[in-house]
């Protein structure tokens, strides 16, 4: 599946993560940018969560930016799911 529109979820507040998604041209694959206040300790597991979630929705040709302020796993997954669903037009929210 490909993102249809640019979408966003989450906030810059502590214990949250902001996720931005935008469509890329055909056959671009995935471009993932992650920054986190806890990158040293949890960067690898964060990236794995992102990859698993994109796999689950079979997302491709996607540019995903995640800026994390120490979110727990259920929050990260919730924000990713919301941003993905907004980007494929399944849910309405904000850009």
């Amino acid at each position: 599946m490909k993102p249809k529109i640019a979408a966003q979820s989450g906030t810059f507040e502590s214990s949250d993560v902001i996720v931005l998604i935008e469509p890329l041209p055909n056959k671009s694959g995935r471009k993932i940018e992650i920054s986190s206040t806890v990158m040293q300790q949890f960067g690898a597991s964060f990236r794995q969560i992102v990859t698993d979630m994109l796999d689950q929705y079979e997302m491709t040709d996607i540019h995903l930016i995640a800026k994390d302020k120490g979110a727990l796993e259920p929050t990260i997954k919730a924000r990713l799911e919301t941003a993905i669903k907004r980007s494929i037009g399944q849910q309405e929210g904000t850009l």
């Binding site: 507040e13 214990s15 949250d16 259920p74 929050t75 919730a78 799911e81 919301t82 309405e92």
Partner: protein, 283 residues
């Protein structure tokens, strides 16, 4: 009962540490219209893994007349929180419709119909008029609550700290709950910096029969607990009454006197209620 905005992960993950008897994860008024989907997904994920310690977990969903109510139920009902709080409940017919949807979701997930309860929020003039029929007809409704903000808006009046405008509604709702033998929870006190005002309003709520009060800030929990917890003197007195009652009952005496005052069944019942609140048994 501590209200927590459903789109705030920091507050949700810390919700259990403040000692509230119950946590209310709010998908309704505390969430902006364009974040309803985000809050719903966050609350669903957080309920699954967050330890709220001894607190009951309730979720306030959006009304079924909005575009969000059904989606909220689809995500939250399978998780079976302690209760679903339904806003702006106005009639028994509305509850019947709500229960049909909840039970259909429970059936789909092979869940029983008797675990998760319902809290009906009364926050319109019509709801106040119909409150007894709402409170008394459904076994799954185990609490009703009053929502001051929406009720005053529906009545086109302004909230005043003395609560004059909603006093009739408060008392009518309490009476409906008492007649239905369910809990009745008072509305929030909006000024988190006015501790004395909170104490005054909570004392009034307890005096007229409410069994609890909703709070919007952890700072308000201690005051509400202090007011609703029986004092040591009340517990001692209740213990004495129940102990004497048991001794007299064993001797076949129904009515007796303590310190020259008659003690009969209603006084014993009140004393037993105080001991239940204090978690004290008479050995």
């Amino acid at each position: 009962m501590l209200y927590i905005p459903g789109n705030n992960p920091a507050m949700i993950q810390q919700g259990g540490i403040y000692g509230a008897d119950s946590i209310l994860l709010d998908l309704e008024d505390a969430v902006a219209l364009n974040q309803k989907d985000a809050a719903r997904t966050l609350v669903r994920n957080m309920i699954k893994v967050t330890d709220f310690y001894d607190a009951e977990v309730c979720v306030r969903v959006n009304h079924l007349s909005t575009p969000f109510g059904l989606a909220d139920l689809e995500e939250i009902v399978p998780l079976q929180p302690s209760a679903i709080r339904y806003p702006k409940t106005e009639s028994p017919e509305e509850v019947i419709e709500l229960l049909k949807i909840i039970e259909r979701i429970e059936d789909r997930h092979h869940l029983p119909h008797n675990q998760m309860t319902l809290h009906a929020m009364i926050e319109t003039a019509m709801g106040v008029q119909n409150v007894f029929n709402i409170a008394s007809k459904f076994i799954r409704i185990d609490a009703i609550t009053i929502g001051e903000q929406d009720l005053t808006a529906d009545m086109n009046i302004v909230y005043t700290p003395d609560g004059a405008g909603i006093d009739f509604a408060r008392k009518r709702i309490v009476m409906a709950a008492k007649a239905s033998h369910i809990d009745v929870i008072d509305t929030i006190f909006p000024d988190v910096n006015d501790e004395e005002g909170l104490r005054r309003e909570t004392e009034y709520a307890r005096k007229i029969g409410f069994t609890g009060k909703a709070v919007i800030n952890p700072r308000q929990i201690d005051v509400v607990h202090e007011v609703f917890t029986p004092t040591e003197e009340e517990i001692r007195k209740a213990y004495h009454i129940v102990k004497e009652f048991l001794a007299n009952s064993a001797a076949g005496i129904g009515v007796f006197a303590i310190d020259g005052k008659m003690v009969d069944a209603p006084i014993v019942a009140r004393a037993q209620y105080v001991l239940r609140l204090a978690n004290v048994t008479v050995g």
